[in-house]
Amino acid sequence: MSIALGILLALMVAAAWLGAIGLLRLRTALARLHCATFVAVAGGLATTAAVFVGDGASSRAWKSLGLMFMLLIIGAATSHALGRALVTRQEADK
């Protein structure tokens, strides 16, 4: 069980590091938004799986599952709003 937990946590950390590298390397703000969404989706999935592996079907695990769904739904909504704001801002700056 520790091996599976270790692999899932390593995936979570790798997702966060990849997102951070992308945040540093990508040029535009719209491209950088992808990094945040990637961390929310990939990291959220790995974290929820790790919580279920480490804790079983406890209340904390169910809360973590709800958290992941919230990250997915809220992440989609906020990314849309941010993208719209960024495009509006870019057009205003031209």
């Binding site: 937990l5 946590l9 809220i74």
Partner: protein, 87 residues
């Protein structure tokens, strides 16, 4: 400390540098970049708080992560509105 707690501690510590990158970009770049960095901080910070609830071995502390994710929505929308109209 059990091996599982050690793994969660290592994961929580490994999430600190990406969080630092987000904070650094929030402080130093233009407003659109700050907005993207803030979104990144919300996602990474939520994962960090989940890991921290296992490090502290306090089941109720996962509510901090839930609160962070939940409050990230109005905060980001408010920032986006300001960026779109006034900043």
């Amino acid at each position: 400390m059990t091996s599982e707690a050690t793994l969660w501690t290592a994961a929580a510590l490994a999430l600190v540098p990406p969080l630092g990158v987000g904070v650094l970009l929030c402080c130093r770049r233009s407003e659109p970049m700050r907005l993207a960095a803030m979104q990144f901080i919300v996602a990474t910070g939520t994962l960090f708080l989940v890991a921290l609830s296992f490090v502290l071995d306090e089941a109720s502390s996962i509510d901090l992560a839930l609160t962070c994710a939940f409050l990230g929505l109005p905060a980001t929308l408010l920032f986006a509105l300001f960026l779109e109209r006034w900043l």
